[in-house]
């Protein structure tokens, strides 16, 4: 079976060990985690965990079922119709072309967010595949550091 990429959204009870239950499930059963983000859901005692993973369809089905089995898991959403966004921060030396980079950033839904004495930082928030393109496009400006944020997703 062919490998597919899937974004799985998990709503969990916000308790101290819940992330280790989820990451441990993936590690213990040999499932792949591409990115993982966690944040509390406002005004609830729940958290939202977004996991991007890869595997054949049977494996993806297993992952979803195994996630469901965990006691603090309320909901597992796996949807092909997800709006996905990922953020990336890129640090450049001050000598780099600010104008070029700013134009690039705005083309990818971002901009320059910080300028210091010897560096400046660009930020982009876009679909994961576009973020990947952006990272490739800025490579020629010799970035000092790149930090990607992991995928967050919401059902359409």
């Amino acid at each position: 079976m062919e490998n597919v990429r899937r974004v799985i959204s998990v709503v969990v009870e916000n308790e101290s060990s819940v992330l280790s239950r989820i990451s441990g499930l993936f590690a213990g059963r040999g499932y792949n985690i591409e990115t993982l983000t966690v944040a509390p859901i406002p005004n609830t005692n729940h958290s939202h965990i977004t996991i991007a993973t890869k595997g054949n369809l049977r494996l993806i089905e297993q992952i979803i079922k195994q996630l469901h089995k965990l006691v603090p898991v309320y909901k597992v959403i796996e949807h092909s119709e997800m709006v996905e966004k990922e953020m990336v921060l890129v640090k450049f030396p001050i000598e780099a072309s600010l104008a070029d980079i700013e134009a690039l950033c705005s083309a990818y839904n971002g901009g320059i967010v910080n300028v210091g004495l010897d560096m400046f930082i660009g930020m982009v928030a876009d679909e994961p595949s576009r973020v990947k393109h952006f990272v490739e496009a800025v490579a020629r400006h010799k970035p000092i550091e790149i930090v990607r944020g992991g995928v967050v997703a919401i059902e359409r």
Partner: protein, 571 residues
């Protein structure tokens, strides 16, 4: 009522109807043991090793279906319990294990006897808790028992820091649980069940594939009714022995790596697998691509994650086996023609006549299979049989005439050597009037041999029949077949005097080399009503047959020899 956390633990256990707790005290759990001393709501059995405590609680749960309870201290007390948790987890046994933990203020400081119990036990428990506030304790105890016994059962760990057991607070034990994120599917979708019924009616060569879930769900009577009504032949997994009853003409036997010929052939040729609480374990399926190759699959399981995990399923039904079979029987009544499967049953009967489950008996030496059959003849239905892991386990599963579920207690999923003796103690506590026999080997018995002392002290008279071939037999068998007879670390010729060992621990011991001595020893052990070791010298090089080599196709079985192979000589 105001009380300390330790007393709350005891009150919760009493409220849950717990009669027996198996455990071992230590620093972090001492407050609870102080309260155990003061109460008389339940009995505490002091095993001589924490692993044995957990296996004993497990054996108790397997024997009577209630939640087994064990109690251990922090650090090494807990880590010793891990094998017991994993054993229960793999076989879905309802159990609550309570462990002490260092005080909250010391957690994370590498304190004395501190270990991250919830971290370690996460992959081998159904769920676990670390109690951080005394006010959570009653709720968590209630939830632990609920989670352990509901849905697909399993072990639950409750880790309690020492300062919480000392703190005082108000105790109100909740009547019900409220875990919105946890609601197992029990009922089974009627539309799916109807489709499955249609498939059964249309099938030509259907087969009931019965797993441990049928035992856990107490579905034995219904499974027998389903078979009786439809006249569909049945195979049992290792965990399901006893569900159909040995005398049932529709039972072909056990399937899998050491399944009998007709069972494995039935699975290879069936056109409709009806899986009742089985999970298509690799020891059952052999090579997956050849497993039930010509069949559609109806898979009934309370755990949706089991369905479609290994085998493509045509009729998935998530639900409790009992509930689903009830509906199936109702739907099949009057609609199914039992004559329809007559040809199929005849083919299978012919397979069984061709290669029955057999061995070649001997006058010179006791064959392990004979010993097991003999126990069956002498105590049969009224005994509970536990076992350790290895050749003796497979022979017991093949040759003992199990008549009812929960009569056969063994570690199937994890395959834990050292399980049988403490599990026998648990089973005997659950059913003091039944004869409880642990069929074991000279390798396994030493892995929890200290339980002789527990059994003697508490007068729990279980009988250990040691089928002694002076080998780690199953590994030796693989070395014979697949490693050109290089017996690397499997020769156990150097061994203790088992009779003297039993006697040194206030039990009773027997050395047996002949069939007459075997009968006499077993009868005497039952009469003496004392913990016993019956050390039986058996044929050294006997192999378990049939055998499907690992990852081979089920129909490619190595069959038992028709005549005795004497090239190995009886040493």
């Amino acid at each position: 009522m105001k009380m300390n956390g330790a007393q709350m633990v005891c009150e919760a256990l009493i409220a849950e109807g717990v009669k027996t707790v198996f455990g071992y005290p230590g620093g972090a759990i001492m407050n609870v043991y102080d309260e155990i001393y003061k109460q008389d709501g339940f009995e505490h059995i002091l095993n001589r090793h924490e692993q044995a405590s957990v296996h004993a609680a497990d054996g108790y749960a397997r024997a009577n279906g209630e939640v087994g309870v064990a109690m251990v201290t922090s650090g090494p007390g807990f880590t010793n319990a891990v094998t017991g948790l994993a054993t229960a987890y793999m076989d879905s046994i309802p159990m609550v294990v309570i462990s002490g933990q260092v005080p909250l203020s010391l957690i994370g400081t590498d304190g004395f006897q501190e270990i991250d119990a919830v971290g370690i036990s996460r992959p081998c428990t159904k769920h676990n808790f670390l109690i951080r506030e005394l006010s959570d304790l009653p709720r968590i105890m209630k939830e632990a028992f609920h989670i352990a016994r509901s849905g697909r059962p399993g072990p639950v760990l409750v880790d309690i820091p020492k300062d919480i057991t000392a703190e005082f607070g108000e105790f109100v034990y909740p009547d019900s649980v409220d875990i919105p994120s946890y609601s197992p599917t029990i009922k089974g979708n009627q539309r799916q069940i109807d489709k499955a019924i249609e498939a059964i009616i249309k099938a030509k060569k259907p087969l009931l594939y019965i797993g441990g879930g049928a035992v856990l769900s107490n579905a034995s009577e219904l499974v027998r009714q389903l078979a009786e009504l439809t006249q569909i032949p049945a195979v049992e997994t290792l965990m399901a022995r006893g569900v159909m009853g040995a005398k049932n003409p529709l039972l072909l036997g056990m399937l899998g790596m050491h399944g009998n010929y007709s069972s494995n052939m039935a699975m290879s040729e069936t056109d409709l697998v009806i899986s009742l609480g089985a999970r298509f374990d690799d020891r059952v399926t052999g090579k997956l691509s050849e497993f039930a190759k010509y069949a559609d699959v109806i898979h009934i399981d309370i755990d949706p994650a089991n369905i479609g995990k290994l085998v493509e399923v045509d009729y998935p039904i998530v639900g409790d086996v009992t509930e689903v079979i009830e509906k199936m029987i109702a739907g099949l009544k009057g609609k199914v023609n039992p004559e329809r499967y007559l040809d199929w049953r005849e083919v299978l009967e012919r397979y069984n006549n061709l290669h029955p489950q057999s061995y070649i008996d001997s006058d010179k030496v006791i064959k392990p299979q004979w010993a097991i059959e003999r126990i069956g003849e002498l105590v049969g239905e009224q005994a509970i049989i536990t076992s350790d892991v290895g050749q003796h386990q497979m022979w017991a599963a093949q040759h003992y005439p199990f008549d009812r579920p929960r009569q056969w207690i063994n570690s199937g999923g994890l395959g834990t050597m050292g399980f049988g003796f403490p599990a026998a103690l648990g089973a005997k506590k659950a059913f003091p009037d039944k004869t409880v026999i642990n069929i074991t080997g000279d390798g396994s018995i030493l892995m929890n041999v200290q339980e002789l002392v527990t059994a003697a002290e508490y007068k729990i008279p279980v009988i250990n029949v040691i089928l002694n071939n002076h080998f780690l037999g199953m590994v030796r068998q693989w070395q014979t077949f697949f490693y050109e007879e290089r017996y690397s670390s499997t020769d156990l010729s150097f061994q203790p005097n088992y009779k003297a060992l039993a006697e040194a621990c206030h039990g009773i011991g027997y050395d047996v080399t002949t069939k007459e001595e075997f009968d006499a020893a077993l009868k005497d052990a039952i009469e003496k009503d004392k913990v016993a070791f019956i050390n039986v010298q058996v044929a050294r090089f006997e192999n378990v047959f049939p055998m499907v080599p690992a990852n081979g196709a089920l129909f490619n079985m190595m069959l038992p020899p028709k005549t005795e192979d004497n090239s190995k000589g009886e040493k």
